[in-house]
């Protein structure tokens, strides 16, 4: 009985850890997106390329991203994938005059599919796909 209980605890701990680490990775990524650097601490592969490319685009256009995105309702949907609701309501893109940039409208809350990888016991986001659906 003790063995079963022990195994159950190990199993539960094993399940909750990726969620917690992923949340840390997403929070770190949101901070990097605001500051414009340090992406490689949280992202790899396609996600890292995309973030760097977008940052270069922002720099080129003289735009600055203000505020942080927030990831809510994080839910693991596989061993290396999760769904979340990305809340952009606190995030504004402003031009060099400090005024909101004239950009296409977007929803404040978007459903995202996140792919992640475990590299040396640290979770890295490898892909972030924004779905059509709001959340």
């Amino acid at each position: 009985m003790r063995l079963i209980l022990f195994l159950s605890l190990v199993f539960l701990t094993g399940c909750s850890a990726p969620g917690a680490n992923l949340h840390d990775a997403l929070s770190g990524y949101a901070q990097s997106a605001e500051s414009g650097y340090g992406f490689d601490q949280y992202l790899v592969g396609e996600a890292l390329d995309s973030a760097i490319q977008t940052q270069e685009m922002l720099d080129e256009l003289g735009l600055v991203s203000m505020g942080q995105a927030e990831f809510k309702e994080l839910e693991l949907v596989g061993k290396t994938s999760a769904m979340a609701c990305m809340d952009l309501s606190a995030l504004t893109v402003v031009n060099s005059f400090g005024l909101p940039a004239d950009l296409p409208p977007r929803a404040n809350q978007l459903a995202v599919l996140i792919q992640f990888q475990d590299i040396n016991n640290q979770l890295f986001i490898s892909s972030l796909e924004v779905g059509e659906a709001k959340c």
């Binding site: 995105a69 952009l88 005024l99």
Partner: protein, 245 residues
Amino acid sequence: MLVELAMLAAAASCDINKAAMGLCGGCPDGSAAYAICATEAGGGTGSSNLPGSSNAGPKKPTPMKLCNYYVNGSIDRPTLGIISAWVPVGSRLCIGDEVVEYTPGPSWQERIDTEISDRFAASSNLPVAWWEPGDETEYEELVRFYVDPRNKSVPGALLGEAATIRFTATSIAWNFSDGGRGFSASYSREFKEVGSYKAFATVQYRVDYKIGLANWLLSAATRELKSNVLDVLVVKYPRRTLLVG
């Protein structure tokens, strides 16, 4: 420029800033507070005398028929000989065909269904805050804080009609780093302690829009924006005692 951005956004993975720039996913279905999305569905008729001008479905083999006509090419001026040939159906008249007098106009009609979508977006100004005297002030002196919400009205067009989106400030809240709060565009207060403080205003905007000659649609959305952050240095100036003897 936006076309270039949209093309770059077509890369496989998205990211936070790309999403913030509206370059991930599709149309937000009007959920953004500062955009009007509209779709207009309608119908019309078009006509054509050209056979096969309809582009419905995959190309099928041309139907043929055995056609008899006189050597001079006609079906009403007989000759000694008759030509029999396989010809595409409808490509020419053959002996025995029923001849219908030509009347100008469409021989067939096709209905063209159209759906036109349009979007008109506008951004509000950021509220601008400042304070007097600015730079620094002495403790227990009255300090005045100001914020200009910079209400904005943006003209544009939606589905060919004039449209306007306007942002009107409805409430203002001052937030001070010592926990103080104020609720007017021009707010006065004093600081009891020497030190560095930060202050900013949060302005709530009401978004209205108008299309064509229709009335304003009020409170279509609300949006809250923070002003620039002010640094307030509160000091104590040295006092000298003047002895008069």
